[in-house]
Symmetry: C2
Subunit: 205 residues, 2 copies
Amino acid sequence: MTDSPKPTRKRDGRLREDLIDAGVALLRDRGADGMSLRECAAIAGVSHASPGYHFGNLKGLKTAIAARAFRLFGDFMLEFLAKAERAPKAQILAISEGYLAFAEAHKELFLFMFSGQDLDQTDPDLSAMSARAYQILRDTCAPFVKPDSHPETVEILVWSLVHGYAQLMLTGKIRKASPGVKIPAYKFLLDHLNLSLQDDPSSSS
Amino acid sequence: MTDSPKPTRKRDGRLREDLIDAGVALLRDRGADGMSLRECAAIAGVSHASPGYHFGNLKGLKTAIAARAFRLFGDFMLEFLAKAERAPKAQILAISEGYLAFAEAHKELFLFMFSGQDLDQTDPDLSAMSARAYQILRDTCAPFVKPDSHPETVEILVWSLVHGYAQLMLTGKIRKASPGVKIPAYKFLLDHLNLSLQDDPSSSS
DNA sequence: CTCCATAACTTGACACTGTCAAGATACGCA
DNA sequence: TGCGTATCTTGACAGTGTCAAGTTATGGAG
């Protein structure tokens, strides 16, 4: 009998995930400031101090939410990578599309991740998922890194463009001046980058 | 008819600015979540409900802080523009340097502005300062807009790169993989953009 | 000069929050 | 069976945003 009229201990390890679900739901429809430990507890149907037991404090809950967000974020990029052609430029486009698809499908999570929230950066879950996402970018950019330069060069170039594009799209800072104009596709912008393969002689800079 | 029928008190209109100062100070050394109306009141030496009178609510105070941040932000870009040469590419580099200088000198304000905070977008101060900053970008990008394309193309390209670069620099997401490596100068990245003047024949897409 | 309307600020209250301490409960295991 | 421990609850406290009502001083009308 898992359920009993006196609900104690019934959830085992499931409650932690339920609380994160509740936090994500609150984040979605009330914003990061509308998220509270007590309301997460209420949604999950437990007492007000239960989240504190599992996550330590509010920072812990936010960190857990961010960790889940980074996992999903990486999943999006890997999914688009798998469906794309193996050509290096196609792969760059693929992670970018995964990046933008995630930002559009999970706007609140995306903004939350990169909004300088007060998170516990020492949390193993968060740092693992964050490093995993960055590694996807690094691997995809590798073919474009020239032997005499640092990998960061290409990585910053690609990541900055797609991240800035996503951020400005979501916060609407771009459309303001002329609301009717369509945002040009990201691919169009990507074509303006001087990316060249490591052994491609067309690079002249 | 001295000024207007409004200012009438011992602190005159000065308290409002003092409260914004207090909010900025709290933002600087405790983060956006550590900012509270009551503590701003305490710093300014007034009662706990006084900020509510001037700003309506916490959202109002945050909006006022963001408006001041956008004004300072625009000032930085204009200052760098004035010191630079008039050549279009030099001007692009100038606003980028102003952008990055602001982000570095006022890290908390920069992150606060672009962190999807719950602000009152209908506030005339905020929207005016925000539009002013965007107009600086638009004007500087204008020489690179081809007659058959939308201005947004170039604007997104430049803004995304510099914004993404600044954001990733400040949140430290870039250095993680190799802490010892120096971040390449932004100018180096800018050189990888295929920017060409409207009448420049070297544009081949 | 008096008087007073009103802007600027204070006082007080309420519901809500995070966080901690201490208690209760049930499961795993001996 | 009985106990230890992880899990969850209860209760309390300080701090918060926000509203209503009270207070004060200032500029202007008479």
